[in-house]
């Protein structure tokens, strides 16, 4: 089920909230948790119930492992369980996400003819697998207790964070499940949740989906793009991806708050970053946190302890981002994207030629993000090379006009374009460019301003005004009216 659908907003969510607070009001604590888990599983299996077997299998495997760690604490080394747990989860993810990629590459290298399985990526598998890997490692590091099955299932399946993050840690959510005061309806938390959700929905429906039209059009006609069009596409995709994913995460945080729970912030104005390292502390923060805690820190400490400081200083960031790239998808373009990020991180960590934060450092990081996204969006190596060639070998064919004209599909522009068609059809190309410039300007102003968390904290300090409530109501209503063209979230593909 999608957050940006009427069935979710007007049917599923109200039923879920009413059931949750009603059962808690009657002090049926356990029933409330089971109800929440049941609703979350319904949400997950809405389009394809067969995926339920996968998620339940994954939960079962990890829960049994956690139980065995508890029971064999004195007899079996936790390293054995960690190896089993991590490899079990990675094999599970590997089969569903990378099997065909592996076969394709084997066939290519060894000239074999193994048949592809054409496995469709199960929803959210990359996210709930990482979440459970972190739990198993924490169990082996003795920083996590063995929870009850009800709590554990509710933690993994909690629908606001199930499909595309944020990657919530057990220590962030399960203790909140167990807090008595969190089970009571808190108006302030609920209101904040509605604001977060509306802002996120607006980001997704009113901004990301509009830029998506232009980006998709450009990549469909990638053979014809010229230099300005390539830069424009890469810039628009960066804006689309940011508003799509951060919008999704704002909605997730908002939904969490409606239930009284705080989920971690996944985005902290990443496009204001002044270095690649700074960018990754702000963009998909919970993924960066996962990779830092479970991969980067242990590997680098191990390297330094073995007196290989220099080697590991360079090697680990590169390795971490190669893995991060591959995690995003089974394609060589993601691996190249990861390597590009790794180089960016190494550049950020340089000791010499350090620049103070300024417009130059911001602009450099922003351009880096644009180029990164050109690689990220290209589905094949061929397309990636075409994009990069178009960006860096200057030539102009006027394709930008055609690209901008794809905005004719945006319902909000219908009246303006119809009027111009009647008045002066020759100026249509310029009208579309003007509309695109307006969209870019609005996006720039939003990106420059406060993010959702800052808006909320500002309002909590200053108090809510009628004007603010009206603005949120407009964003929500406008988004809901635009929901007839429901589109999936980009991070559902990863």
């Amino acid at each position: 089920m999608l957050f940006n659908s009427q069935i979710f907003i007007f049917l599923f969510l109200p039923i879920c909230l009413l059931g949750w607070y009603f059962l808690n009001h009657l002090h049926f604590r356990k029933s409330a948790m089971i109800f929440l888990t049941g609703m979350s599983l319904f949400f997950y299996g809405f389009y394809n119930p067969s995926y339920l077997i996968l998620i339940l299998g994954s939960i079962g495997f990890n829960y049994v492992l956690s139980f065995l760690i508890l029971k064999t604490k004195k007899t079996i080394s936790s390293n054995i369980w960690m190896t089993l747990g991590v490899s079990g989860n990675l094999l599970f993810l590997g089969y569903y996400k990378y099997f065909d990629f592996f076969i394709e590459n084997t066939n290519f290298i060894f000239k074999t003819d193994f048949a592809l399985q054409h496995i469709i990526l199960p929803l959210g598998i990359s996210f709930f697998t990482l979440q459970q890997v972190s739990y198993i490692i924490d169990r082996c590091w003795e920083t996590a207790p063995h929870y009850t099955l009800v709590d554990y299932m509710a933690f993994v399946t909690f629908f606001p964070q199930l499909i595309a993050g944020p990657i919530v840690l057990h220590s962030e959510l399960i203790p909140q499940f167990q807090m008595e005061e969190k089970r009571k309806f808190q108006l302030s938390s609920f209101v904040d949740g509605c604001i977060y959700f509306s802002l996120g929905l607006g980001k997704k429906v009113l901004i990301a989906d509009v830029f998506a039209i232009l980006v998709n059009e450009g990549f469909e006609k990638i053979y014809y793009i010229d230099t300005p069009a390539a830069w424009l596409m890469a810039l628009c995709y960066l804006i689309e991806l940011y508003f799509d994913f951060s919008g999704y995460c704002d909605m997730a945080v908002g939904l969490g708050k409606m239930f009284g729970f705080d989920l971690p912030q996944n985005f902290k104005s990443p496009l204001k970053a002044h270095s690649v390292q700074d960018f990754w502390q702000r963009w998909h923060f919970t993924l960066t946190r996962f990779l830092t805690t479970y991969l980067y820190t242990p590997l680098t400490i191990m390297g330094i302890r073995k007196n290989k400081r220099k080697l590991f200083t360079y090697l680990t960031p590169m390795l971490v981002f190669l893995i991060s790239g591959f995690w995003h998808g089974a394609s060589w373009t993601f691996v190249i994207w990861g390597a590009f990020q790794g180089l960016g991180i190494l550049w950020s960590q340089r000791k010499k030629w350090k620049l103070k934060k300024s417009g130059i450092t911001w602009f450099g990081t922003f351009v880096f993000a644009i180029i990164s996204n050109a690689i990220f969006r290209s589905e094949t190596i061929d397309n990636m090379l075409r994009m990069l060639k178009a960006m860096f070998v200057p030539h102009v064919t006027g394709f930008s006009f055609e690209l901008a004209s794809s905005l004719s599909e945006v319902p909000e522009f219908y009246m303006i374009t119809r009027v111009m068609e009647i008045l002066n059809p020759n100026l249509m190309d310029f009208l579309y460019l003007l509309l695109l410039s307006c969209l870019l300007l609005i996006s720039a102003l939003i990106l420059k301003g406060k993010n959702a968390a800052e808006i909320l904290s500002y309002r909590q300090d200053k108090g809510y005004t009628f004007l603010f409530a009206a603005q949120i109501a407009v964003i929500f209503s406008w988004s809901v009216l635009s929901l007839n063209q429901v589109s999936t979230f980009l991070y559902f593909n990863f």
């Binding site: 590091w141 820190t297 302890r305």
Partner: protein, 80 residues
């Protein structure tokens, strides 16, 4: 070793790692309070503290260090 002695040693390590002889850390000090305390500096810090106090932290201990106070408590436990 007392908590004060541990903090004295920790301050020396912090001053050395962050190259700032005026730096004084407290119980509640976190990475947000010290300029340049990023993920790599954190690792350098961990390894330097290990050397200074002659201990070896487990990964669980490293991941549970939420502030300098928890680092000091872990050291106190290890040195007891």
């Amino acid at each position: 070793m007392t908590r004060d002695e541990i903090f004295k040693g920790l301050n020396e390590v912090f001053q050395d790692v962050f190259d700032d002889s005026t730096l004084e850390v407290e119980e509640e000090t976190t990475a947000n309070d010290v300029d340049g305390w990023d993920s790599f500096a954190h690792i350098t810090l961990i390894v330097s503290v290990e050397k200074k106090f002659g201990v070896k932290f487990s990964m669980g201990q490293v991941s549970s260090m939420k502030n300098v106070g928890t680092m000091a408590s872990i050291l106190l436990e290890k040195l007891a």
